[in-house]
Point group: C2
Chain length 199, copies 2
DNA sequence: CACTAAATCTTATCAGTGTAAAGATTATTT
DNA sequence: AAATAATCTTTACACTGATAAGATTTAGTG
């Protein structure tokens, strides 16, 4: 990308992508603004024309990753014929975990900083809700209603299921985890232990 | 703690405790060796007489926290009369989550760096296994065997249950999480959604 | 077109960080 | 008591996030 031009042209996006490349290559803990700038061929202070702070760039990178994440989750919905089958939730959970297994650095990157807004209740403000969870909730509520569950139990079950899938992602992306089976084929069995789905 | 003596006397432990105090006060992301040293009243390079690197000190702090964590889990075992009742597992899970709700900084501190060794399989090397998981496994296996489950299903159920509890801790300790109920009274309901326990 | 204002980038420069080296001080061992 | 080891201080270096002042380019206005 290094051009002799004074103006880069698309520096904002380049910084985001360079940052993500560095995270995948070296990990988020050793990421520096200067490395990102160097990778884009600009000076150390150049990023400050597009981002107020390092945290601001990290926030934009996070949004970028979450968008990719959302695309993966949405395909798992479109691939399902019967939108009322609990299997849809399993498939979403599977794709949830597999996304982080395929991109191990992303899990801690997204969740380590505690800047994510989450509304666990069924009612309440959904505008600022963490999009992946918001999507899961939207799909899970009608399916669980369909199974004749009470509102309170639906809420519990949604939290329970998301916690399982989320925790599984956390565990599977740990560096020194020993598991002698293939996650892709096993995840489904593990998620099936949620009582709701076994009905 | 600041003494006029040249030798501190118990600097190694003081550094660990000061570091943990700073984590609880300001968070792990802004922790520096120099602040920890200053809090102990010693020079910036003094920690290097006891720890090879910052990461080395963080490792010792992590062990310290995990010990506290283990004590909490072990009391939940001793408080249970019937060691074969699945309720024991619920109680462990409850204490697992509540420990992190009471110490919100500890979750990311322990798990964000990926230095934890975990063996998910039922057989294999247990010596270097993450002690809290190792303890959970030891207690869960006989209880689940008692329920007449196959070895494969036991393994799945253990991972499933731990993932739920672990994920619940991750979610509950996020900074901007909105939940209009009391965790302490609700956790149990949520964990009960694991199929095994509902048998 | 010329001129101005805004946007973008560079070059210092700063305080704070982890870490290493060399030396000072105290404790331990012989 | 002397020698050795352990502990701590001082100094120094490279790297970091961030700011300020200035250079360069682009966009907008008459």
């Amino acid at each position: 990308m290094q051009n002799r031009k004074y103006h880069h042209g698309d520096l904002r996006n380049s910084l985001i992508e360079a940052g993500i490349e560095l995270i995948n290559r070296e990990g988020a803990s050793v990421l520096s603004l200067r490395k990102v700038a160097a990778l884009c061929g600009v000076s150390q202070a150049a990023p400050y024309s597009h981002f107020q702070s390092k945290e601001d760039l990290l926030g934009a990178m996070r949004e970028y990753v979450i968008e990719q994440f959302m695309e993966v989750l949405e395909t798992s919905i479109q691939d399902c014929k019967d939108q009322n089958n609990p299997r849809l939730l399993i498939q979403m959970g599977k794709n949830y975990v597999m996304f982080f297994i395929k991109n191990p650095q992303y899990f801690t990157f997204i969740f380590s900083q505690q800047c994510i807004e989450i509304n666990l209740s069924l009612d309440g403000d959904e505008t600022k809700n963490f999009p992946p969870f918001q999507l899961f909730k939207t799909k899970a509520v009608p399916i669980m209603n369909n199974l004749g569950m009470s509102k309170a139990r639906v809420e519990d079950a949604i939290i329970s299921m998301w916690a399982t899938v989320h925790g599984l992602s956390s565990i599977a992306t740990m560096k020194n985890v020993h598991y002698n089976k293939d996650w892709e084929t096993k995840i489904e069995d593990i998620i099936w232990n949620i009582q709701v789905l076994a009905v």
